[in-house]
């Protein structure tokens, strides 16, 4: 089980819940499990979110491994100039 935290406004689509324990070994599995548990989150997760693992931000990396030792944060998709 890994602990996933929702940053920003994403919690609105998860009934206000901000922390989840999910069975996952990589980012794709984290997103799949969260989407299954919270169908209203699913379209947002599919559209794209950034995932911070121990402070490093990943914008698109399904297969980036996660372990129970990691701090995992879901953030809104970022754009820059």
């Amino acid at each position: 089980m890994v602990r996933v935290k929702l940053g920003g406004t994403l919690k609105t689509w998860a009934g206000g819940q901000t922390e989840f324990d999910v069975e996952a070994t990589n980012i794709r599995e984290v997103l799949d499990r969260l989407g299954e548990a919270h169908p209203r989150l699913k379209p947002l997760l599919e559209k794209g979110v950034a995932v911070a693992i121990d402070g490093e931000i990943y914008r698109n990396a399904w297969f980036q491994p996660v372990t129970p030792a990691n701090e995992i944060y879901l953030l809104p998709m970022l754009a820059g100039g």
Binding site: I57, E71, G80
Partner: protein, 755 residues
Amino acid sequence: MPLDPATQKIRAFDQVGTRPLRPDGLDKVTGRARFGADATAPGMLVGRILRSPHAHARIRSIDATKAEALPGVKAVVTSKDFADRSDDLRDILVNIMARGKALYEGHTVAAVAATSASVARKALKLIKVDYEVLPHVTDVDLAMEPDAPLLHDDLITSGVEPVPTKPSNIARKIEFGHGDVDKGFAEADLVVEREFKTEATHQGYIEPHACLASVGSDGQGELWVCTQGHYMVRDVCAQLLGMDVSKLRVTASEIGGGFGGKTTVFIEPVALALSRKAGRPVKVVMTRDEVFRASGPTSSTSMRMKIGVKKDGRITALDALLKYQGGAFAGAPVDYGGMAGVACYDYPNIRVVGYDVVTNRPKQAAYRAPGAPMTAFAVESVIAEIADTLKLDPIEMRLKNAAKEGTKSAYGPTFGPVGLVETLKAAKAHPNYKVKLGKNQGRGIASGFWFNFGGQTCVSLNLNIDGTLALAVGTPDIGGSRASMCLMAAEELGIPYENVRAIIADTSSLGYNDVTDGSRVTFASGMATIHAARDAIKKLCGRAAKVWGIPEEAVVWEKGFAKPSGANAGNFEPMSLKELAANAAKTGGPIAGHYEYNAENAGPSFATHVVDVEVDPETGFTKVLRYLVCQDAGKAVHPSYVEGQFQGGAVQGIGWALNEEYIYGADGRLQNAGFLDYRIPVASDLPMIDTAIVEVPNPGHPYGVRGVGETSIVPPMAAVSNAVSHAVGIRLTESPMSPPRILKALGEQAARKAG
């Protein structure tokens, strides 16, 4: 994961960190460089665009028959020439060509292609558009009122529970933070709460949007365009025009500035549609007036910022309300702008609520650290006021609260190695910080942050017959990045910088590359270049191994030569890159290195700025006396261009702070759509911009590189405001701090004293 664990140590470089001439330099000082408007094609037509004169109007009908009948007119297009859609691209579709309603003054309603500019201008006047003018709103606070004129009757605020039943101009509510702010404020010895406003500014690139489109009756198209991302242009245009992506080849011209404003499409799909209809190439170049009225400015904002501290200056809580209007469509960067804007400090308790609001203004586009300078202005102004009240040194106050490795960031995750503390110390140690100030003078400090991005990247490195290399990258070079790419390739291969020539490849020559944005190019294309060079080195060692008849693993690469790895590998003379290149045909054919990936771990960059100003109490005019930028570059690949990014961002921020603003009339029309009235800083406004490059290596890059392009625009608005406030003895809360605003504040202060 760091791609190269060796980077944990600060390594020595042969070439990275030097300042060679840029490979595209000669073309740019001789006038040969070809920018967006510099291309021509046989049979080329001139495309011009008809724009709405109204801030908000229903388009009842468009009659183009007279224009079409004018001799020399070869095509007229309107929204009917673009199929409607309901996906993510719909806002872009509606923005490039109004459908049903004009949502802002300057919104495209039709376009013509004609044999000359004068015929095209005449044709525009012959297009009859029947408008029903609607009430409009351009101010963010007014747009949020319940009875405000509604832009989109299907816009329901997202991020709010329960889901609203009525449409409004509020596209999104966002919220982030941690801890308990009420508890935090209860623990505070001092709480300061202020309201702030910032006006919209434009990226102000000197090159207007320009493109040359050519679509044939076989459905194949070519597009020459100044853009920050030609792959993005290709994919978006192909979809809007219903073309196969493979049939549209896009070439990025030299680009005359972008700063985020060229990360989307405006005229490109229109030019392609005109060309398709006319059967001839069409060039469309925006005028400066069109650039101001119809391409993306920033958000204007209205904010409330409340910060509580203990007597020693330690922050106990921050509570912020951010309202950003982003023009006629959802997407104001209140979320990551807000996150970046508050990111410098360690808050035990923080709550940020933001609103993304639509108004009758052009759709905002990214501008250098999108959204961050505004929130940073509010945060850093309140921090400065607190430091003044508590009589703390402003740098010590910031050091006490500075985010560092292990700090839980305001937006959630815990920071890795970051360099804010180092930039604060560099600022404190700099001679500028010790200069004694005179009458009407003030000093301002502010810090800033930007995330930095990686993204999809692909490069090719081809070995030529003489041992020189052709490096193809897919990210438009907006500020000297080709020089950095050549430096990194040369560093890896151990060959002279001059032996590598970098070009920006067209969309048919390389795999997909994300746009040049998020300060990503030197980081991401640079890392791809390093890996492509390593790929080439592996192949080169393989060829040498074959020639020597020894295993590939027994060959190493050192400073431009393949060598046996040790005495056991055999006694062979090192083989130079030149020899390997000359023999390539006989040893297995062309040799190239490639790399394609999705770069992650860009590593954020922090900065601290120190500015001294003098304010003339008679005129309200602010003169910048000296300016210092201290910023973490991770590793400066070409220090001159790193300094250039620091200086350029700082000066854009100075313009935002002191002069630049979109001024709207009561009619909803922009009143200053030209460089005379929208005044960007000129040489005589400024002193030299001093820089200090701080290097805290990014573990996510083999050389430790961090992006540097955007952070430099985050602190200036706040730094200048803090300096002006110290000079005049009044806390200013509206940007720009133009002479009329400063005079007004001075007048109010005098009235208070007199009263």
